[in-house]
């Protein structure tokens, strides 16, 4: 059967099991949009290419399947560079197809030409410039293979318009054969036995759980490891939900705005077991003072992460789930671990937890505390609700005050810190999991960046709920200016009512609600929960005076953690 290059692309996407693509057409990608009309693939027509990229990320995070986006050349491609960089940092499997000017016009500064392959080289796991129409099925198969195996990541296919229009005899892709690509599989037995020796000897161990545990679907294996060893767990921002917050062994989030117990447990640990985490600067603080007494076991599927920041004592290069399963099996082979060995450590951790919980000043009831909104949302939604956040204070409060019980119920931009992530990512998550309730907690600054995707939600019948914690400021920047720039507030004021968020929502076919007093918080959330036929935006007018605590000032040791002012006496 003879097909065009564009048809070959769509057939190849279908062959990969693609059900949904997020995109926006334009000149160079026009040939691809014609066969989409005849395809089984649902195309979600976004209003800005950045929205397509973050929606594809939200879809991937919620489902574990690769997200797909289709954009045109030039500005279409550059608009999706931010989501590519975001997905690269957070290891999100994406395949992005970008139109390109005709192959013969490449290099001539043609209309809407950009060197997309060159521009995206540093923010993709790999990319392709399609030159031969016959290569399309193979390139698509390779792109999905690379995006979804090993350490997942984004792959871009740069697709010239004339190649899309050429005709070729359809031939399905052969088995993928990449001589330079072979992701690690099973862990080395020697590494596992050395790790087990350290685990048996440890008296103050901490499991430092990162996003790799979620990517590798290793939550079940992790639960077995904790059951076998009694070791406490911290879950990084990328791993919230990988281990249930309700378990007493879960200490919550480590890092700059982590819990006192999680941060301090790592600092005092004698063994730190990193599972799919990458010793990010927001977790380590000053690296030379990070977990100074700990031996380190580093489990990662990416060999380049081993020793990048901290030299481990044992390196396990493998898929996280396989590695954890191997650890559990090896631990079971030997004598059972004595539960009592960790008793003093557990007592210490319990004391830190009890003394230094996340807290905030509840005030006199005249203002809405943003943390209160998060608590009310948490208590008014089912525990399998998917929570999506933007970047800033609201993101940290969401991570701190929520109670995550399941993997893939928390979606946010961790490594890149992309403001504007929440609205389109929530849309993508809902497309991937229409059976789930999806809430986004967003900041007013973030919302203004990508809030036009409410139009897409309405037009495409994708009902999500968005809580804007509207403090009229770029809150996290304001917090830093408050703490580190002598309260000299520079370009952080946004205004509570410009724009009018309720009017914004309604103009885009959504329900808009405004909440200005604490007693209205819960009823508004419950009202939103009852609306299923369109998206809801709630403009919560929150107290601007709230800062995120604890905080480890940038570049400082985690030992210099600053607790909430009400806990300062205890910390001395």
């Amino acid at each position: 059967m003879e097909v065009t290059g564009a048809q070959a692309l769509i057939k190849s996407l279908e062959a990969q099991g693609v059900e949904v693509a997020f995109g926006l057409p334009g000149g160079a990608i026009l040939p691809v949009y014609d066969p989409i009309l005849d395809s089984s693939i649902r195309h979600v027509h976004v209003r800005h290419e950045q929205g397509a990229g973050h929606a594809a990320e939200g879809y991937a995070d919620a489902t574990g399947r690769p997200g797909v986006a289709i954009v045109t050349s030039g500005p279409g491609a550059t608009n999706i560079v931010t989501p590519l960089a975001d997905a690269y940092m957070d290891s999100v499997p994406l395949v992005v197809v970008a139109g390109q000017v005709a192959a013969g016009a490449i290099g001539t500064d043609a209309f809407q030409e950009v060197d997309t392959t060159g521009v995206t080289m540093g923010v993709t796991k790999h990319n392709y410039l399609v030159k031969d129409v016959a290569e399309i099925p193979q390139i698509v198969a390779e792109a999905f293979h690379i995006a979804t195996t090993g350490r997942p990541g984004p792959v871009l296919i740069d697709f010239p318009k004339d190649v899309a229009n050429m005709r070729v005899e359809w031939e399905a892709a052969a088995a993928v054969d990449l001589p330079g690509y072979s992701p690690p599989g099973l862990p080395a037995p020697e590494a596992i036995s050395r790790a087990v020796e350290l685990i048996r000897a440890a008296r103050r161990p901490v499991l430092y759980v990162g996003g790799g545990v979620i990517k590798s679907e290793a939550s079940g294996a992790l639960a077995a490891l904790v059951a076998a060893t009694g070791m406490p767990v911290v879950t990084t921002l990328m791993a919230r939900g990988a281990f249930p917050d309700s378990d007493p062994r879960c200490l919550g989030m480590p890092g700059m705005h982590g819990s006192y117990a999680a941060v301090t447990a790592i600092q005092r640990s004698d063994l730190l077991i990193s599972l799919g985490a990458r010793f990010d600067d927001r977790v380590t603080g000053k690296v030379s003072a990070f977990a100074p007494d700990a031996l380190v076991i580093h489990v990662d599927i990416d060999p380049a992460e081993i020793g990048k920041v901290r030299r481990p004592d044992v390196a396990v290069i493998a898929d996280c789930r396989r590695a954890i399963e191997a650890l559990v099996a090896a631990l079971r082979e030997g004598e059972p671990l004595d539960e009592a060995r960790l008793a003093p450590w557990r007592a210490q951790l319990a004391q830190w937890r009890a003394r230094f919980p996340y807290t905030y000043d509840v005030g006199d009831g005249s203002t809405i505390k943003p943390q209160y909104v998060v608590e009310q949302l948490r208590d008014a939604t089912p525990d399998d609700v998917i929570l999506v956040a933007g970047v800033g204070q609201h993101q940290m409060w969401a991570s701190q005050f929520w109670r995550f019980e399941h993997p893939r119920t928390w979606i946010n931009s961790g490594g890149l810190g992309t403001m504007g992530f929440a609205v389109p990512a929530a849309m993508g998550a809902k497309v991937g999991r229409p059976d789930r309730m999806v809430w986004a907690i967003d900041g007013d600054g973030c919302f203004q960046m990508t809030g036009q995707e409410l139009v897409t939600m309405t037009a495409e019948h994708i009902p999500v709920k968005i809580a804007i914690l509207n403090n009229a400021y770029l809150g996290m920047v304001r917090q830093w200016q408050h703490m580190f720039y002598k309260e000299r507030y520079s370009s952080v004021y946004l205004s509570p009512d410009l724009p009018d968020y309720v009017g914004w929502a309604e103009s885009m076919g959504c329900v808009g609600l405004r909440v200005t007093s604490p007693e209205e918080v819960r009823p508004a959330i419950e009202k939103a929960n009852e609306i299923d036929d369109r998206s809801v935006v709630i403009d919560f007018r929150t107290d601007v005076g709230e800062q995120v605590y604890p905080i480890v000032p940038a570049g400082r040791s985690n030992d210099e953690i600053v607790v909430h002012p009400s806990q300062e006496e205890l910390a001395r």
């Binding site: 060159g118 080289m121 410039l129 030159k131 001589p179 330079g180 990416d302 060999p303 380049a304």
Partner: protein
């Protein structure tokens, strides 16, 4: 160019086999730039198998640990293999071309220098000579130093290339 100090080399020669595809050099160079790894020299050419090219890269191991450089390179999909050529376990060579401001035959000291290093005279004009020398980097360094008193007009060196030795010491 002599990146060796105190007898302990702070450079390392990597021999990188890559798929012979458009943009591979940009991927490698971009990785070094992005990760802040310094390069002393880089040579690329096809191998006997036209599907692959070989890149010889002299990297500054003070800018990043060698292991980190190798592992990051290995992540590039088009990189097929990386050999770390330990100076004691590899044959290395480099080529030097230089134009010097002296007519070859008229200066006995210059003639002696060329003979001592077994360099080749490629061209001569009324007031300049172009010479070529192939050898290890240390010999080229010495030769270049020797040329300086005659006035180097232009010089081009290729940077090291290398292959594993057939007769390793241990």
């Amino acid at each position: 160019m002599n990146p060796a100090t105190n007898g302990k080399p702070r450079y390392h020669l990597l021999s990188v086999r890559v798929e012979n595809r458009a943009g591979v050099l940009a991927r490698v160079a971009g990785l070094f730039a992005r990760r802040g790894f310094n390069i002393f020299s880089l040579v690329v050419a096809p191998t006997q198998d036209e599907r692959f090219s070989r890149i010889s890269i002299v990297v500054d191991v003070e800018s990043a640990p060698l292991r980190q450089i190798v592992e990051q390179l290995a992540k590039l999909i088009n990189v097929v293999g990386i050999s770390e050529l330990d100076p004691g376990r590899a044959r290395e060579a480099e080529l030097l071309l230089a134009t010097v401001g002296v007519p070859e035959s008229r200066d006995p000291d210059f003639v002696a220098l060329v003979r001592r290093f077994e360099a080749q005279v490629l061209e001569e004009s009324g007031d300049a000579t172009m010479v070529m020398l192939v050898g290890d980097t240390e010999s080229l360094d010495e030769f270049e130093a020797g040329l300086e008193r005659f006035g180097i007009i232009e010089i081009q060196r290729t940077g090291r290339i290398g292959l594993p030795t057939l007769n390793p010491a241990t």
